[in-house]
Point group: C2
Chain length 313, copies 2
Amino acid sequence: MTVPQHTEDLIRGAVEGHRRWLARAITLVEARVPGFGEALSEVGVRRRTGPGAPHVIGLTGPPGAGKSSFVDRLITCARAEGRTVAVVAVDPSSPFSGGAILGDRVRMERHTGDDGVFIRSLSSRGHLGGLSTATGEVVDLLDACGFDVVVVETVGVGQSELGVMEVADTSVVVLTPESGDTVQTMKAGLLEIADIFVVNKADRAGARRLANHLARSVELGGGPWVAPVFTASASEGWGVDEVVASAREHAAWCAGEGVEHWRRRRGDALVRLYLDLVAGRARTRALDALDADLERSIRQMELTPYRAAARVQ
Amino acid sequence: MTVPQHTEDLIRGAVEGHRRWLARAITLVEARVPGFGEALSEVGVRRRTGPGAPHVIGLTGPPGAGKSSFVDRLITCARAEGRTVAVVAVDPSSPFSGGAILGDRVRMERHTGDDGVFIRSLSSRGHLGGLSTATGEVVDLLDACGFDVVVVETVGVGQSELGVMEVADTSVVVLTPESGDTVQTMKAGLLEIADIFVVNKADRAGARRLANHLARSVELGGGPWVAPVFTASASEGWGVDEVVASAREHAAWCAGEGVEHWRRRRGDALVRLYLDLVAGRARTRALDALDADLERSIRQMELTPYRAAARVQ
């Protein structure tokens, strides 16, 4: 079957279950092809206003923290219950050269024969900040495709990476005993975003200390959901199932007692996506309108970037 | 002397040498007060199209890598030559809560009595991605104020942090022997941005191996400037002066043999700043136009973010 030329047809095919069309549609998001979101709206974004499928789980953490082990286990558990899973591995590759460096996907490869599992990386070929928007669009697409669980994995714990996590219902932050510096720098952001903390590689020194520090910080922060802090050693095979179970508990909390909190956070994310889309469209229009004369004037400072930007309506 | 109410007067006062007004003007940038850039254009952005003062030096690296030691030494060396220095410490605090976590500034405090030194932190209270734009504006302001050297220090090596570095003439990436994972994840971005690599805390195991790995990668990458790779131990007091000297050499290269490369990179940064400003203005306008009805429609998904964004011109 040939892949359709029109975005709307492509999305419709993806929603009907054609995996190759789904992959192609994600490539359009990656390339920031204009009109994708509107086409998705025509076909039907589900993005529910009450909790329900899919359960969107975000995982973030420094490189080498062992996130893939948790993703692997999330897939296995969901499949054992007959639920379908899509994984988006957000690639923190250079925004400058567009080079892609994916982490170890070997572990996940054993799911590739399974039709109920879809795994795809999403790289940041676009400009800075566009990754959150792209991730939001991909999650909406996977939602429309009817996946029961969507996992968004992103490497790193900088500002951009935490921004990507906003799309998730349940955010899991995976650290290691060596992540003290990261915690110190990004603490406020981590406490804001994390629903579950994991100190992985906990067979190493310092794990208990970091876990205690996080637990105290979480308690001080208060809030309607007090993020549990787990220690685990994915390589030694302990602690992983507890984290997966906790993600399920958080999903249940979002659908029950915590529904108002969930609704507010989801609403915030939608409003932010709207604002980011407006900004992204303006940037694209300005780039399209950047003729050789204007570009030369800016490069040679005949026109300051400030005056040039003020001219655009 | 009272602080003026109008942005233009405030900038004029800062340019005339009133440090308190300069500090206030930077607060306006931080708060993303509209019209700052245009006011700066009126007073006179210098942002030169050929190399010259100020030499803008960017330093980035993971938390705890010892960047402050290098900043301290850069200040001392510049002052010994009678050159004035401004330092902008870009704060990677949470974009969600706006909490500020500054690194150890104790070392720099001994410069606070010196009128030729201006030190200021810049936090990311605004939205994601706005930090690069704000940093560009602050550097332009410090340029207009006539500083000979401007140092931009930012913590972290994620996408946002490398984006901040685009404003620099000379980018120094400070790592530690433990930064192997960071290098693995952000390698393409690091190679693109770094003019100088430093493996600090080189008294620890693995320093030589990381330095050799970086040196090989730099050579493979080619390019008109082959970034030197230094090892140093700022705490033990060796290797720091070599890095400072190398930054001076890179500045000289930018003004001579490498001027075309410098001009292209500077032009790219100006065009990017223009596009970022356009996007930021559109976002601000959309936020201002977000009335209660529209916000409710988006939050409740009566209107998808995609359709809502498509309506904005």
